[in-house]
């Protein structure tokens, strides 16, 4: 899928909500987190929401960077390696206590597993299976509506 700005944002929000939501539901109990299960779920879903909200800002930056590319495309690898700056930013905000609503302590291993699992799942779905139910999605720059 070669994205437009609107398509980027829609795809990110949709895939984080659906795929990210499912992955978070499955892996949270297995993560090395503190607190009750409810608190752990609260923390992982807040992290997921943070990735989605900050991601909208990131998408504006990616769209700007894409303008220097003749093809106006976003290679597959870019969609994968952007996990590094995005993950780092969320981690730094977490460490600084700047993410509201976090109740427990999120260790580095727990964050890494959580973030990587969600990111990889979303990236894999965006690069193939997404086209199965949504046949118009790739021709509309990632827009779903």
């Amino acid at each position: 899928m070669v994205p437009t700005l609107n398509g980027r944002i829609q795809t990110r929000v949709f895939l984080l909500a659906v795929i990210g939501g499912l992955v978070t539901a499955v892996i949270t109990p297995a993560l090395p987190l503190s607190g009750s299960l409810a608190d752990r779920y609260r923390d992982t879903y807040i992290i997921l929401a943070t990735v989605a909200v900050l991601g909208i800002g990131w998408e504006f930056l990616y769209h700007l960077l894409m303008q220097w590319r003749w093809e106006k495309d976003w290679p597959t690898l870019f969609g994968l390696v952007t996990l590094v700056p995005e993950g780092l930013l969320v981690w730094l905000l977490l460490q600084a206590g700047a993410i509201p609503g976090i109740v427990g302590t999120v260790s580095a291993p727990a964050f890494c597993i959580d973030f990587l699992a969600v990111w990889l799942a979303v990236w894999l779905v965006a690069n193939g299976p997404m086209r199965v139910p949504f046949i118009r999605w790739r021709f509309r720059g990632g827009r779903l509506v």
């Binding site: 398509g7 106006k72 597959t76 199965v132 949504f134 046949i135 509309r140």
Partner: protein
């Protein structure tokens, strides 16, 4: 299709849908030729056609051409739920990829070579999933194709599928959707409006010269509400000086087109040292160049290659930093025919809004001859330049003549006129003929209200409806190369044909011809595709 007796209508399908019906012709009205009245009248009645002795076959949807454009459109419609008996494909091809395979083969892409197409552009799979790369990785048990799509185009060339893989997939999908049972062999002569709505498409069956009981007339009229046109390239043109040389000298040996069989050139070069001149800087010139360089390397030949560019690209080019295409050594470099975002990103979205001159200007900016920058070709050309057997020139040719068995081209270069002598000249420019040179298209322009877009091809709506040609509730759609210049630029590509097919299917759904493909149907149909079951 049926035996012919006294005038009556026979249903060929009994599933309760609209279906193919044949109006049988009275033996007394023998003939079946186009009359002056028919030729001169823009819209016909059934009575006029019957009076001419032309049998009428009624079917809701007719596709003309029978190439890959027809195939992907019919594939989409089958997946949307249209039964095979509601569609007919009128074609003089034996199978949909026949022309494509011929052109790729003669332009040096046999089945084992890779075409210039994206991994997810699968004409045999409307979802593009699994992609060609994933399918190849699974089939050959290798991670190499997946690695390539992961790191393309920065750390590796774009992944592209082998021609053979594409054809095998098309063959499988054709069987799955019952494609052949929809095909009617013959040459389409014209499409005319039917008074009251819809169209008549006149087909000349293969047996027209010797009528048989199954096809007893010289013409058959297909009466349909919808017509789809995907007739491919109207024809190829040579560069004017090459055409003049061939016509004047009646020499079709020394000057050849890359799109015609020219194996004798390579055979000559195998037998003795040869000088070959290439014209053009597109993908086909790269392919021919590769073949010459491969033969040189593998067979130890001493072929000299002179490559003449009309527009020599010496580096990155474009109006500003936001639209600068890579280039060098004569070529403009681009992964595919158009910038990738034409098939779904911001360029597609932008082009959809442009009209007239603005659209023509946008086409000019992203167009121009170009070729992919493949690492293996770069290495071969570098060796050729270093050793003096591959030379590039910039200029145009004024005149060509035959001297001592060689073709001498007078090349007008920035430095003056230079005579270049070569054993063969291969025209790789791929100039296309005007749409009016295609008889069906010329008739549509003259009699059916069709017009031209800013690039002079068929003017279609965003839905690929042929503008100005509506007939009551009837619609003509057009897709493929004949519609270049419309709201969507990548029409003459696999993915472009699928984009057109999707727009056409959605438009037909709005008109009640078929259900709209929503997420559930799409997923269900994908599962059927994956398991090889019919739609």
């Amino acid at each position: 299709m049926a035996t012919y007796g006294p005038s009556e209508r026979t249903s060929l399908a009994g599933d309760g849908h609209e279906q193919v019906t044949v109006t049988r012709r009275s033996p007394a009205t023998a003939g079946g030729q186009l009359t002056e009245e028919l030729l001169e009248t823009d819209s016909w009645t059934e009575a006029m056609v019957r009076e001419a002795g032309i049998p009428i076959v009624k079917v809701p949807f007719v596709s003309i051409g029978g190439g890959i454009g027809a195939f992907v459109t019919v594939d989409y419609l089958r997946i949307a739920g249209v039964a095979p008996d509601r569609m007919r494909v009128l074609s003089n091809l034996d199978f949909p990829w026949q022309t494509y395979e011929y052109l790729t083969r003669v332009s040096q892409i046999p089945r084992g070579e890779r075409i210039r197409s994206d991994s997810a552009s699968r004409p045999d799979n409307i979802w593009g999933f699994p992609s060609y790369a994933l399918a190849e990785a699974v089939r050959d048990r290798t991670l190499r194709p997946l690695w390539q799509v992961l790191v393309e185009p920065i750390w590796d060339d774009y992944y592209t599928p082998k021609a053979g893989q594409v054809f095998a997939g098309l063959e499988r999908e054709a069987k799955r959707i019952g494609y052949q049972q929809m095909v009617v062999q013959g040459q389409v002569r014209m499409v005319r409006r039917c008074r009251g709505g819809g169209y008549f498409t006149i087909l000349t069956p293969p047996s027209a010269d010797a009528p048989t009981q199954d096809a007893p007339t010289q013409r058959v009229a297909y009466q349909s509400q919808f017509v789809h046109l995907a007739v491919g390239y109207p024809g190829l043109r040579f560069l004017p000086e090459l055409q003049e040389f061939r016509t004047k000298q009646q020499d079709f040996y020394h000057v050849v087109s890359a799109y015609e069989d020219h194996e004798h050139v390579y055979e000559f070069a195998r037998a003795k040292p040869a000088v070959i001149m290439l014209r053009g800087g597109g993908i086909v010139s790269s392919r021919i160049l590769q073949r010459l360089m491969d033969d040189r390397e593998n067979l130890g030949l001493s072929t000299d290659i002179v490559h003449l560019f009309r527009t020599y690209i010496s580096g990155a080019h474009g109006p500003n930093a936001w639209s600068r295409r890579k280039g060098g050594d004569g070529f403009a470099y681009q992964g595919f025919n158009y910038p990738k975002s034409v098939w779904g990103g911001q360029l597609k979205a932008r082009m959809r809004k442009l009209e007239g001159d603005q659209r023509a200007a946008a086409y000019k900016l992203m167009g121009g001859t170009n070729t992919p920058r493949r690492r293996s070709w770069q290495a071969q050309m570098r060796t050729g330049r270093e050793n003096g057997w591959y030379r590039t020139m910039s200029g145009t040719v004024d005149q060509m003549m035959l001297r001592d068995g060689k073709v001498v081209s007078q090349v007008k270069t920035p430095q003056g006129i230079v005579d270049v002598s070569a054993d063969f000249v291969i025209d790789c420019t791929g100039l296309e003929a005007d749409i009016a040179e295609h008889r069906v298209l010329a008739d549509l322009l003259e009699h059916c209200g069709a017009g031209r877009n800013p690039l002079g091809r068929l003017d279609v709506e965003r839905t690929f409806e042929l503008r100005g040609s509506a007939s009551g509730a009837g619609v003509i759609y057009a897709s493929g190369a004949t519609t270049l210049g419309g709201y969507f630029p990548g029409v003459d590509t696999f993915l472009g044909l699928q984009i057109a097919a999707q727009e056409i299917t959605d438009d037909l759904a709005r008109r009640g011809f078929c259900p709209r493909i929503g997420p559930l149907r799409s997923t269900r149909q994908w599962l059927r595709w994956a398991s090889g079951r019919e739609p």
